[in-house]
């Protein structure tokens, strides 16, 4: 019988790779009777979904902002590079 520690590892592993049939079976059997691990499965799957959906959205309200000094420095650098490499004419 697998315990919760083993099952949580397998749950995570199963999200990125195929389990061996006996690992998969052991995990399923454990989940039949363990409500904590069932919640764990649902919740880590939610984490995956959240990460995906928040991925770029997370930038909608940038948590960090470039300082003005950094902006100026990058701007200067871009202007220099622009001069050396004029825009392609179309």
């Amino acid at each position: 019988m697998l315990n919760c520690r083993q099952v949580t590892r397998l749950v995570s592993q199963s999200m990125d790779a195929k389990l061996r049939w006996y690992q998969w079976l052991g995990m399923r059997i454990h989940l039949l009777y363990c409500v904590w691990c069932r919640r764990y499965v649902a919740q880590v799957q939610f984490l995956r979904k959240a990460a995906k959906e928040l991925g770029l959205e997370a930038d909608a309200a940038p948590a960090h902002k470039l300082s003005n000094e950094a902006k100026d420095r990058i701007r200067t650098r871009l202007q220099e590079a622009s001069r050396n490499d004029p825009p392609p004419s179309q």
Binding site: C37, R39, Q43, A50, A51, D59, R77, L78
Partner: protein, 212 residues
Amino acid sequence: MSVQPLRTEHADTPLREKSDLVDPERWLDEYGDVLFSFAMVRVRERSTAQDLVQETFLAALKARGSFAGRSTERAWLFGILRNKLADYYRLQSREVPLEDPEKVPEEEGFFHASGPGKDGWISRIAPKPWAAPDASLVSKEFQAAFQECVSALPEKVAQVFLRREVDEIASEEICKEFGISPNNFWVMLHRARMGLRRCLEVNWFGPKRDAK
């Protein structure tokens, strides 16, 4: 600084029709902060994140002739930044070898270390039911809580997690970037999931939420 509304015509219109807008300085104003923020969550150091943003714009400047408007300008810049991050991770893995995550018990404190319930959840911190998790996805506060929980993870663990789950890079590719074995890779992912799950439960889905 004025806040640019996202997903307006600027962000989502293919560049081809707007070639008169190709302007690195406008990139800086429009995308500087979002790119910087994206990089900060991953590298956690202002100067490194600034360098990555600068590198991104310089590469974009070089490549802008070949940008054919197949994607949005925003997605294009993010794509370049992701490549720069991959380079950065590769370099880091050569300079600072990852400590062996096997040495760090990934689920420390979650399971009974001994006794009849050995390796079972400690009931006090076992997963609790979450109320309507999907509804949280649209919440700005949830977004902030999620980011904060990611920041609370060990840096490398967070990087691997974001690389896999946000950037959706293939596992083998991530192993190469970070110079880790497949086993280390999934141990780190497991740690990330254990930590994030718990953090969100405490800080978002827990009783504190009702008090908000």
